[in-house]
């Protein structure tokens, strides 16, 4: 009995290997780190080294073999195309960055070396998530990612906050996943297919685009799961608490990688399901418009009131979810705006990931020992004491506020432009006004860094960690470069 007959792998052949490479690399990495982090000495370093190598290999594979057309494996359980490559790369890099900014922090806070393993597993889940058309496989990869992140959140073992955050995330996330899965099952029941392409064909052939209640409810439940993951109102409830409770680098990982993966998967689903001949259900558009407006307003108004930095970023991410939803609306609007909308969502995600990683790298460095729940007051005088750090932080904040010439500005402009092209004038105006309110969210830390007199001098001595510094510098460079030459970064699809 030959090997190939024992393990019939001939369903994957030729070019398909290239497609599966990133997933493969990350899986290997995850397993390897799991094993190696058990080493008594240097477990952390070895695990990180493995993760570094694996991630680089994964990203390199997407860069070296860029796809022009789609590679389908197992009838669409795995799909590799430009979209999955871009989002895989984003997720892998964001995971790597989160790992990098943890160097130093993990020793101080005595995090377990399995930290890197969990990141690797989460990234595997993400890569799978953005590369599938199959609803159940999507659920499985989502859970792979989520389970790893639940543990990451609770990992800060001495911290009750982390424990509570982990619990909360787990319970809410579990419920949301169940809802999503129920939606998948209803969709399956209505169309007889678990594959998005099949569902789409069923939509077209059976109902000519005008869906009856059953598939609509299925779609609705399925989207609720997504909306939960990207944190749209009213499914955002977990975000502030979980982001606050998790260790700072973990929050950085969630805010960048998890969000990007969810966005990427949603983008794939929308593109496969709706764009093209199938017209979007107006009901869905109405619902998502309402959710978009609510998300934008809620995020901005409540964010303004926050005094703890991680909460500030939590609400900031809710606002950003609102912007992304604006892009999805433009996508659902169909027509010629859809192509632009997709590419604007991709650009926005990239810009968003970069600036958030930078900001969290700074936060990691200035977070006090044992209690990394920074308040605004603790920022007082940072502009004088650590001008470069404060400057970098300011750039990231401004980028999030969307002030040119930074990445965030172009991200926002692309989205607005796409939304306008699809005719959402009033929604865009609401989004624009919300961005004025949310600007306050980002300006307040600057007020503390630069303008407040520091009566009691800044308590926390910022750590100087190489990994975080690298992330800060890289993010700073990229944020500004994306602001100056956005065209380089926005034609990836």
């Amino acid at each position: 009995m030959s090997f190939s007959s024992m393990f019939p792998m001939n369903f994957i052949e030729g070019q398909q290997w290239l497609g599966i490479l990133p997933l493969f690399c990350m899986t290997l990495t995850a397993i390897a780190t799991l094993l190696l982090s058990a080493l008594r000495h240097q477990g952390r370093a070895v695990a990180f080294a493995m993760l570094l190598i694996g991630s680089i290999a994964a990203v390199a594979s997407t860069v070296v073999f860029p796809f022009q057309d789609t590679i389908v494996i197992l009838d669409g359980v795995l799909v590799f195309d430009r979209l999955s490559q871009v989002f895989s790369a984003i997720c892998v890099l964001a995971g790597l960055a989160a790992a990098l900014m943890t160097l130093g922090f993990d020793e101080r806070e005595e995090l377990q070396p399995e930290y890197f393993t969990l990141i690797a597993f989460a990234v595997v889940g993400m890569v799978a998530m953005v590369s599938t058309r199959n609803l159940v496989f999507f659920f499985i990869s989502l859970e792979l990612m989520s389970l790893a992140v639940y543990v990451l959140v609770s990992m800060h073992r001495q911290s009750p906050m982390a424990a509570e955050a982990g619990l909360k995330y787990f319970l809410l996330g579990g419920a949301a996943s169940a809802v999503l899965l129920y939606g998948a099952s209803i969709l399956y029941g209505a169309t007889g297919s678990l594959d998005v392409t099949g569902i789409r064909e069923a939509f077209q052939s059976q109902w000519n685009g005008h869906l009856p209640l059953l598939p609509l409810v299925g779609l609705g439940l399925f989207s609720v799961g997504f909306l939960f993951k990207i944190g749209a109102f009213p499914f955002h409830v977990w975000i502030p608490d979980v982001y606050t409770g998790a260790a700072t680098p973990v929050t950085g990982f969630m805010i960048s990688a998890v969000k990007a993966a969810a966005t990427g998967a949603l983008l794939r689903m929308c593109l496969e399901l709706f764009v093209g001949p199938v017209s979007t259900e107006p009901t869905l558009v109405v619902i998502i418009s309402a959710i978009t407006v609510a998300t934008l307003l809620f995020g901005s108004f409540v964010g303004v009131r926050q005094t703890r930095l991680k909460r500030i970023f939590a609400y900031s991410t809710i606002v950003h979810t609102g912007y992304v939803l604006l892009g999805f609306l433009a996508l659902l609007g169909g027509g010629e705006g859809a192509k632009d909308a997709a590419s604007s969502i991709v650009s926005y995600t990239i810009f968003y990931v970069v600036m958030n990683l930078g900001a969290f790298a700074v936060l990691t460095m200035i977070s006090p020992k044992d209690n990394d729940d920074l308040t605004l007051d603790q920022l007082t005088g940072l502009g004088r004491r650590r001008p470069m750090l404060a400057f970098a932080m300011s750039v990231f904040l401004l980028s999030m506020a969307g002030i040119p010439p930074t990445a965030g500005f172009f991200g926002k402009y692309y989205l607005f432009s796409a939304a306008l092209s699809s005719g959402y004038v009033w929604l865009t105006i609401v989004a624009a006004l919300a961005s004025v309110v949310s600007a306050v969210i980002y300006l307040r830390p600057m007020v503390y860094m630069y303008m407040k007199e520091s009566e009691e001098s800044f308590q926390v001595v910022p750590a100087i960690w190489l990994g975080s510094n690298i992330i800060v510098v890289l993010s700073l460079f990229l944020t500004v470069m994306m602001g100056l030459l956005p065209a380089w970064f926005s034609n990836l699809l």
Partner: protein, 100 residues
Amino acid sequence: MNSGTILHILSAYLFSMGLLALILRRNTIVMLMGIELMLNAVNLSFVTFARELSQLNGQVQVFFIITIAAAESAVGLSILINVYRNFGSIKTDRTTVLRS
């Protein structure tokens, strides 16, 4: 009412019960069970649909879901232990350090 409809209603009922458990109960273990209940309701739904459609496809998915559910309970229980270590309780009204 044919058996399929009854099963669908049952599945929806179970799902709702799971959700209600999450909303109404403060004991984390019960909430964990709620999640399991929801997943099982989905399983039921899948099986029923697969049967109605005369497909094997849907029925097979259940195995995956069961596996995931198991993993989820494992992770969930470990999180519960962690919570218990930190708070000395697994009631959600005791885990309040994050409230602002």
